[in-house]
């Protein structure tokens, strides 16, 4: 029996109702970004439910501790403003949890009443609630603007604003702002730079924070993440690379405008071509030669693709996810010879339509894509009902569509609630491309085996 049994192929125009969104709200992205700073305690300025929801969402996705504070608004604070709650919270957090930094983000509640984080943070400092050597950074992240991706971008910029300085002495480093991706992806982005012998500062860096080891001890602040001192040095860097337009352009442009650090915004390095562009940009910015070890990994990707191209070629894919993620995946699918038939992302942006059109121009299929509030998984499902696909790519919520329509699903994006791996194994870089190909093949070949008649069931594929 169908799980989404009320979904039909009949598409009626909707302007006001979102069903099964392909996005969520800003603060969860802000909370995630804040966790990529060492010794940082995220704080949600609003009523306590937001913080509980965001902690739960991140915990379920990473299967790791996620702590954060809340201003615990009640009706009174909603009427009279949240200043006293926030100052109390700052005092309590520094006393009880002793972080290096508190990263505060707003919610739709505190934004609607107009709380000014700059003013309140200043008052907290003036009132002596911020111990010497400790920091507060903040970002405005109303839930009725943008999505979790925007929230990530805003907090990244908030962190940069809070720490970055320019001493005038160049440090020769390259700044990297990774988009909204997994800790394992951040590790891989760093590994490639390390292989090239490039000294980078990566902000945020959640590797080691949200994929930590079991030690028998709970560390509220794991020994990982970008340190405030490192972040401060970003103003003296040679250049900044932003990996993902939606999630990083604000931060990159801020460093460019404010500190004259030249910025380069590209897509997430998912798939062969995007990784090529990342490595090439690193090469050009640093003047270093790409080592053989990287050429070797790249060659493996091409080798696997040449070996298995027959199983990718012409396969139709539907996907839902964040724009930086799906744009990169669409390109990679096309590289593999697949057809990205339907794509939705809940995060809006004109560039999405432009880039999709550009990527799809030689694809021999009338591919449908949509971004923004109306681009939900209900619409995606309706498209599939009218013309099915061979593979689904997206977060765990797509498993209902996968089961109903009997289409294999490769889990990718946020949130993944029912599988592990995303925390530990990258999908960016050449090794990530190999892993994605493996996952696509597993799904496609398992289906081929399952559906093969006895005579066509083959030992080797």
């Amino acid at each position: 029996m169908a799980l989404l049994r009320h979904t039909t192929g009949e598409i009626k125009e909707r302007k006001a109702l979102t069903v099964n969104p392909a996005k969520t709200c800003q603060p969860v992205g802000a909370m995630y970004a804040a966790l990529g700073v060492k010794g940082c305690f995220p704080h949600s300025h609003g009523s306590q439910g937001c913080c509980a929801y965001h902690r739960s969402a991140l915990t379920r996705h990473y299967k790791e501790p996620v702590v954060a504070g809340t201003s615990s608004f009640t009706e009174g604070s909603s009427v009279f403003g949240g200043q006293s709650n926030l100052i109390t919270a700052i005092d309590n957090i520094f006393t009880l949890y002793d972080p290096e930094v508190i990263a505060i983000h707003t919610t739709c509640l505190s934004e609607t009443i107009g709380d000014d984080l700059m003013q309140i943070s200043q008052k907290a400092k003036d009132d002596g609630k911020v111990p010497a050597g400790k920091h507060i950074v903040y970002a405005s992240t109303p839930s009725y603007v943008g999505t979790h991706v925007t929230g990530y971008a805003n907090m990244v910029k908030g962190i940069l604003k809070g720490f970055v300085k320019k001493t005038g002495t160049p440090n020769g480093k390259i700044n990297i702002i990774p988009g909204f991706c997994e800790p394992s992806d951040m590790a891989e982005i760093r590994r490639l730079a390390d292989m090239m012998g490039i000294d980078i500062t990566m902000v945020p860096d959640t590797n080691g924070v949200l994929n930590g080891p079991m030690t028998g001890h709970y560390e509220m602040y794991p020994n990982a993440g970008a340190t405030p001192a490192e972040i401060a040095g970003m103003g003296d860097a040679k250049a900044t690379i932003g990996l993902g337009r939606w999630a990083t352009a604000d931060g990159v442009n801020f460093l460019d405008a404010e500190f004259k650090v030249p910025g380069h915004v590209m897509g997430l390095p998912i798939g062969l071509k995007a990784t090529d562009r990342y490595v090439d940009l690193l090469r050009k910015l640093s003047g270093k030669t790409v080592p053989d070890a990287i050429n070797f990994e790249r060659g493996q990707v091409v080798d696997l693709l040449s070996d298995y191209s027959q199983y990718f070629y012409g396969k139709k894919v539907a996907m839902a996810g964040d724009p930086d993620q799906v744009l990169a995946l669409v390109e990679f699918c096309i590289t593999l010879g697949m057809i990205p038939a339907y794509t939705v992302t809940g995060t809006a942006g004109k560039y999405f339509d432009e880039r999709m059109a550009e990527l799809l121009k030689d694809v021999p299929y009338d591919c449908k894509f949509k971004c923004g509030g109306e681009a939900d998984m209900y619409l995606l499902h309706q498209w599939i009902k009218n013309d099915p696909v061979d593979l689904l790519i997206g977060n765990t919520y797509l498993k209902y569509v996968a089961r109903d329509e009997d289409i294999p699903l490769v889990r990718h994006g946020f949130p993944i609630l029912d599988r592990v791996g995303h925390q530990y194994f990258p999908s960016v870089g050449y090794s990530g491309a190999m892993r994605l190909m493996e996952k696509f093949l597993e799904a496609l070949l398992d289906r081929l085996d399952r559906d093969a008649p006895e005579t066509r069931f083959e030992l080797q594929l």
Binding site: A16, G49, C50, E75, T88, L109, H217
Partner: protein, 539 residues
């Protein structure tokens, strides 16, 4: 750490020692030792605001209203009016299992939202809400739609109730709204109350049909997490009871409508539904008793009480036969497992009622409860219903509507006379009774209301229990300390744990969790063995 505190008072001092003075003073009132059976129970501070910046387990009013109470109702389109987040986070995250039944209506796997944007916040969201209801109707044709307001909706003043009324008239289906903005009240408990009030006002008693069956009951405060309600349904049917409606696990709006046809209300989660039981008694004359289907013995006891109420020998005999048959299965498993769990220790800080109910299951395994507390309870959940008249109504409670209920002119029908009730009461059937969690926990147990992260960490360091029960936010924090955490909100995808089969599931899961080898693997050989040197000859 040789100077570890050993008694509850010392531990309490340790818990609050590092807190700022004001915080410490407030928290001290929410931390108590348990009491022995029959001893007077001291007052515990509960249902008060959380402290800004102090990490809490709690969620919000919207979570209680949409997520907990109305979420499990399968044939209602639950429409969140607000920015996308709230609707997204309450989308399938409570594990409300449901059987779509012969009518096949099930909207639970869908998340419906008006996805408000800045424009709606500035110019008002009523128009969008109206259009969203129309679109939900056009696409899904539900028989009922309920609307939930989120924080900013309350601030901008959208009149969601007026929209509900006019759309109900236009579309001819049941549409009602819940003003459950997250900032209202102090916990999800307020949200339960808001949802229940609206169900009471708009749904219960709206369909007069003859419900077949001799022994008709409603189950109140059972949410079918992990299939609990399915197991309870199985047992009740086996005994011969007719379940009219469950509030609200595996439920339908159609069942709510005829809930007034039941002759007995049974209350599982006292916190979330006690007032509905009260209101239904006043309005329709249905008496209520507290039951507990968590624990095999507790389930047997609850069934016996339910059977006793109907005073029918055939029902009583059949119930006894069912209990005997089921308990035999249970005993086999307990006999096998108890030697491995006997004497182990547990703590539970979770929900409202669960922290009490699950103590039964631990006791059946011979495990000792070192501490327990509720996430969003009120004093009566801890101390018993006799304290109800002495609970102070503060500003936060006043924000939640209290319905004034009168006997329904046509449908009020006392199920039992005063004399019958008194006679049953003498036989030990305690109507409207709940003793609360604290009594009988013992003086060496900690009772903590709205425990926070800081206290949890301290408590774990001091007590090192064999298992800790809480929710997803606490899970990996506790497990990083090498202590298994059993989630009692979603059961770690296990369950059911209710009833007899549920008890067996529980014993097996707890056996696995307290006896698994994984916690012995944390240290590598080179981390546990002393320093050792190995040498080789150098040529």
């Amino acid at each position: 750490m040789s100077t570890k505190p050993t008694n509850v008072e010392e531990i309490k001092k340790e818990l609050i020692a590092k807190m700022p003075t004001k915080v410490a003073r407030k928290r001290a009132k929410s931390i108590l030792p348990g009491t022995e059976v029959g001893e007077p129970i001291p007052e515990i501070q509960s249902n008060v605001r959380t402290i800004p910046g102090v990490i809490t387990q709690r969620g919000c009013t919207y979570a209680g209203c949409k997520g907990v109470v109305l979420g499990p109702s399968r044939d209602i389109v639950n429409l969140t009016h607000g920015p996308i987040g709230c609707g997204f986070y309450s989308w399938l995250t409570r594990r409300n299992q449901t059987d779509a039944g012969p009518d096949g209506e099930n909207f639970i796997p869908y998340a419906f939202s008006t996805d408000m944007t800045e424009h709606d916040i500035v110019f008002g969201g009523e128009k969008k809400l109206r259009a969203a209801i129309q679109e939900a109707y056009d696409n899904f044709h539900p028989k009922a739609i309920s609307i939930f307001s989120t924080c900013p909706v309350g601030l901008i003043g959208d009149d969601i109730h007026a929209v509900a009324r006019t759309m109900q008239e236009e579309l001819g289906i049941t549409i009602f709204a819940n003003s459950c903005e997250g900032y209202k009240g102090v916990s999800q408990s307020a949200g339960h109350h808001i949802a229940n009030n609206q169900i009471m006002k708009h749904v219960i008693g709206t369909k007069d049909v003859e419900v077949e069956g001799k022994f008709k009951v409603n189950m109140l405060g059972e949410y079918n997490i992990g299939g609990d309600a399915f197991e309870i349904e199985r047992i009740l049917e086996k005994c011969g009871f007719t379940l009219v409606a469950t509030f609200s696990g595996n439920s339908t709006v159609e069942d709510f409508r005829k809930a007034h046809a039941a002759d007995l209300n049974t209350v599982m989660c006292h916190r979330s539904l006690n007032y509905v039981a009260e209101m239904m008694e006043t309005k329709y004359g249905i008496p209520w008793i507290k039951v507990n289907f968590i624990g095999a013995e507790a389930s047997a006891k609850s069934l016996r009480r339910m059977a006793a109420y109907f005073e029918d020998q055939e029902l009583i005999d059949r119930t006894e036969a069912v209990i005997a048959e089921e308990l035999e299965k249970v005993k086999t498993v307990v006999d096998e497992i108890k030697p491995r769990t006997d004497g182990k220790t547990a703590m539970l800080f979770v929900g409202g009622s669960r922290a009490h109910h699950y103590q039964e299951l631990f006791k059946e395994l011979g495990m000792k409860i070192l501490g327990a507390g509720y996430e969003f309870a009120h004093r009566d959940d801890y101390e018993g219903r006799h304290v109800l008249p002495t609970i102070k109504i503060d500003a936060d409670s006043r924000n939640i509507e209290e319905l004034e209920i009168h006997p329904d002119p046509e449908r009020f029908k006392p199920r039992k006379t005063e004399e019958e009730l008194a006679r049953l009461n003498e036989k030990g059937l305690d109507f409207k009774g709940y003793e609360g969690m604290i009594g009988g926990m013992g003086k060496d147990a900690m009772v903590i209301d709205d425990i926070n992260h800081y206290e949890t960490e301290k408590l774990l360091e001091i007590y090192k229990p064999d298992i800790f029960c809480a929710g997803i936010k606490e899970k990996y924090i506790v497990q990083k300390m090498g202590i298994p955490l059993k989630q009692l909100h979603n059961y770690d995808m296990g369950g059911p744990y209710a009833g007899f089969n549920g008890a067996i599931n529980w014993y097996r899961d707890i056996d696995r969790m307290v006896n698994t080898k994984v916690w012995n693997l944390i240290k590598a050989p080179w981390q546990t063995d002393g320093p050792e040197l190995e040498a080789t000859y150098v040529a």
